[in-house]
Amino acid sequence: MSQRPHLSTLTPSELRQRLHSPDGLRLQLGRFVAGIRSNFDSVADGLQALYADYPVATADDFCDYPVEVRSSGLRRYLRPQAIFRFEGMQPFKPLPGSQAVAMLEWGLNWVFTNHAQHYLIIHAAVLERDGLGLIMAAPPGSGKSTLCAALALRGWRLLSDELAMIGLDDGLLMPLPRPVSLKNQSIDIVRQLPGEPVIGPIAHDTAKGTVAHMRAPRASVEAALTPVQPRWILFPQFAAGHALDIEANGKAHTFMQLVGNSFNYPRLGVNGFAAMGRLVDACDGYTARYGSLDQIVPALETICTRSA
């Protein structure tokens, strides 16, 4: 990806110093540089666990997104609260300090979805296989992240667990590989998958229940500057005990479903309409209902080989 040192080369002390410095820790996330500031030791530990393979940018590199997760005042010592800030904005209510790492992840998602407006952004997991992209668009609770983690652990390249970012000019998927967000039972399910998943700190009693993140595979991080041609769009629906059922979707209906899963389609006007149309034209669309990873993973590996 670059000759820059990886975060894993920083000592714990160096990492904390950077997180406390005015410029923050400059971390390269895909094509973006985030400047992360925090006075939480747990954030330093979480970054070390989840972002070890990411290049560290220098203070001379332009920082696209300066973000901060910190506690302040006496609350720093008594039941600390985590406060997320971006360019003076505080978009979320404070959370318990034990959720600081999760808050950083959610905050970064918010920053990208609200400020990377040169992309059409869809709430979706995105992976690549043999040079072509699979977009899995679904609302929370549909099993998207668990399936995404399972595919990534089987060697699919992870582009993102949360955000499909489609270039308005070229129609390509821009990678933004970051940790995969896991909730509740999916944490243990993924922990037991082959492929040696690395799971970061666990946050209990969040608004989403128990939350943890799986580290993105190193190969995905190293390929984070290589965009991908989209080829398949899947709307996954997990339901325990459900038999596997995959059906092809028409393009007009795929278009409308993607609009419903997009973060910024309305803001982009006719450019968003054109980009969505080009995306749908380039892809085969499917809806998949399934009851286990053992059903859906082989099916996807067949679909995403056969029709390439």
Binding site: A252, F255, G277
Partner: protein, 86 residues
């Protein structure tokens, strides 16, 4: 069937994409996206090129369309997509 000329209400603001399962219409004036039946998409795409008489539009309508053309045009007019010229 009426001989009236039909047109899009705001042709410059409307973009349409057609596929076999339907069409999507974007109206830049209202910033709305609407899913249309395949036959309606074909009619809208034709009117995007300019006004047309109902007889011209009737020739474009797929044989298996659910709605007769007058009802389809009335429906599109109710949604503010087409209008009959005076």
């Amino acid at each position: 069937m009426t001989a009236a000329l039909w047109s899009l209400v705001t042709p410059e603001a409307m973009s349409v994409l057609n596929w076999p399962d339907g069409a999507v219409l974007y109206n830049a004036r209202t910033t709305t996206t609407t899913l249309l039946a395949p036959g309606a998409g074909i009619i809208v795409a034709r009117l995007k090129a300019g006004p047309a008489e109902a007889s011209v539009l009737a020739a474009l309508q797929p044989a298996d369309d659910d709605l007769p053309l007058p009802e389809l045009l009335d429906a599109l007019a109710r949604y503010g997509i087409v209008r009959a010229a005076d």
